[in-house]
């Protein structure tokens, strides 16, 4: 098979898979929320309510689409699209499985093996703020704008700590390529063992970056109506909500890749490269991803939402100094080879 043909097929699969997982994350979210609250959750559409995401999607498409008269029409339409695009772009550099060797030809299970993979993720994720900000600003609504500003400042604050926690990780791995980082974590040499502190900071920042509870401040019903997406209706709102779930999926994938060994599992090096190894590796990877999606949902239904000043305090006065401390400690460990 031509490499380009393979790449196009692979990218389409990853694209479809992200959408599919995001779709069923909404179902998992509702179902788990219900279970954690001693309820049953959606169970009418199809067996166990499995068709509920489809019903929700159909509902969103058929809802009335409303664009405020005083809004900036083009930006208003662009906002959700931008958010969706940036959410989908991130999965490009994540290695989902070990290389597939078929008939002597090697196929990489990664859309693009950039040697600056981490930087790429950070670049794209920080662009995601534009989707929120553009949408909130274009609505021409004070509350939407306030919500958007809150979202933007939150994302920027937490990105700093996130970046700093990654610096420590990069010091350990001495590479920016996600594939190399995964390959280094063979056996049980998962980065969580070497960077537990950095992992903690990273996961807190990941929660804040995906705008999920306890950091879901952009959408405080009580103070800001719906936050930045107050004026959005129909599938444009759907895009915002949907992209959030794609972000959760991608964050889970990044977490699994950076700290939990990605597709690595014990004894993987004993296996011959081939179909079985690739499929097994992919299963391990997706198992880890689903665990993190579960964690995201679990925490959302456990912790109450932060107050805004507490959020800013945590970001700037706690997480950034801690991640700097983490860098210093990591540096000392590497320097003195403890």
């Amino acid at each position: 098979m031509n490499e380009w043909v393979f790449k196009i097929i692979f990218i389409s699969i990853i694209f479809g898979l992200s959408l599919f997982i995001a779709m069923y994350s909404t179902y998992a979210e509702r179902k788990l929320a219900a279970f954690l609250q001693d309820r049953l959750g959606p169970n009418r559409a199809g067996p166990f309510g499995l068709l509920q995401p489809l019903a929700d999607g159909v509902k969103l498409f058929f809802k009335e689409e409303f664009i405020p008269k005083a809004s900036d029409r083009w930006l208003f339409i662009m906002g959700p699209g931008l958010f969706m695009i940036t959410a989908l772009m991130t999965s490009a550099v994540i290695p989902f499985a070990p290389d597939l060797v078929l008939n002597g030809q090697t196929y990489s299970m990664q859309a693009a093996d950039l040697n600056v993979g981490i930087l790429y993720i950070f670049g794209v994720v920080s662009l995601g703020v534009y989707g929120v900000l553009v949408g909130g600003w274009a609505s021409n609504n004070k509350f939407s704008l306030l919500g958007a500003i809150r979202a933007a400042s939150q994302n920027i604050s937490y990105e700093l700590a996130m970046g700093l926690s990654i610096v420590a990780l990069v010091m350990v791995t001495s590479t920016l390529s996600l594939r190399d980082i995964v390959d280094q974590q063979h056996g049980w040499h998962w980065n969580i063992i070497y960077q537990p502190f950095g992992f903690l900071i990273f996961i807190i920042c990941a929660f804040a970056e995906t705008n999920r509870a306890p950091f879901d401040l952009p959408e405080c019903e009580t103070e800001l109506v719906g936050g930045y997406h107050t004026e959005f209706s129909s599938m444009k709102l759907g895009f915002y909500l949907f992209a959030e779930y794609i972000n959760v999926f991608v964050s889970s994938a990044v977490l699994a890749t950076l700290y939990f060994g990605g597709y690595q599992f014990p004894f993987i090096s004993d296996m011959e490269p081939g179909m079985a190894k690739t499929i097994l590796g992919a299963c391990v990877m997706f198992g880890k991803i689903f665990f993190f999606i579960f964690l995201f949902i679990w925490i959302r239904w456990t912790l109450p939402r932060f107050r805004y000043d507490q959020l800013m305090n945590l970001g700037w006065k706690v997480l950034i100094p801690l991640s700097v401390l983490n860098i210093l400690l990591t540096g000392a460990f590497i320097l003195f080879k403890i």
Partner: protein
Amino acid sequence: MNFSERIYLPAVFKGMAITLSHLFRKKATIQYPEQQRPMSQVFRGLHILKRDEKGAERCTACGLCALACPAEAITMTAAERTPDNKQFYREEKYASVYEINMLRCIFCGLCEEACPKAAIFLQNDVMAPASYEREDFIYGKDRLVEPFLQN
């Protein structure tokens, strides 16, 4: 606050353990239309006009229930029994029309208490059903009188 309280994480993990334990707990949900919870013994639901042991209507249209009704939901017209419908009614007088407006009724049970003939009761296992039409809430004898006992 001491150190472990100030970093919040122990409390966070404790909270997560609590929510996780709820994941496996028995759910309190009742699947309503298919599965119904038994009503309380003292629940006051839909009215019923009882018959006596011979199958004749107990109501004699004395009007005490209508008088006792604080919401004035009950209206009735009395009629005199004739020889050819003698077996249907217990005494000389009977209600030819007996209507309860369920939109006015407050299900207080005073009609039940006022009735000297033990003719009207509020059932504890039937609720007045919902409807889209106001007219459907005026219950005549066709919907109030107890069906014939099957012996």
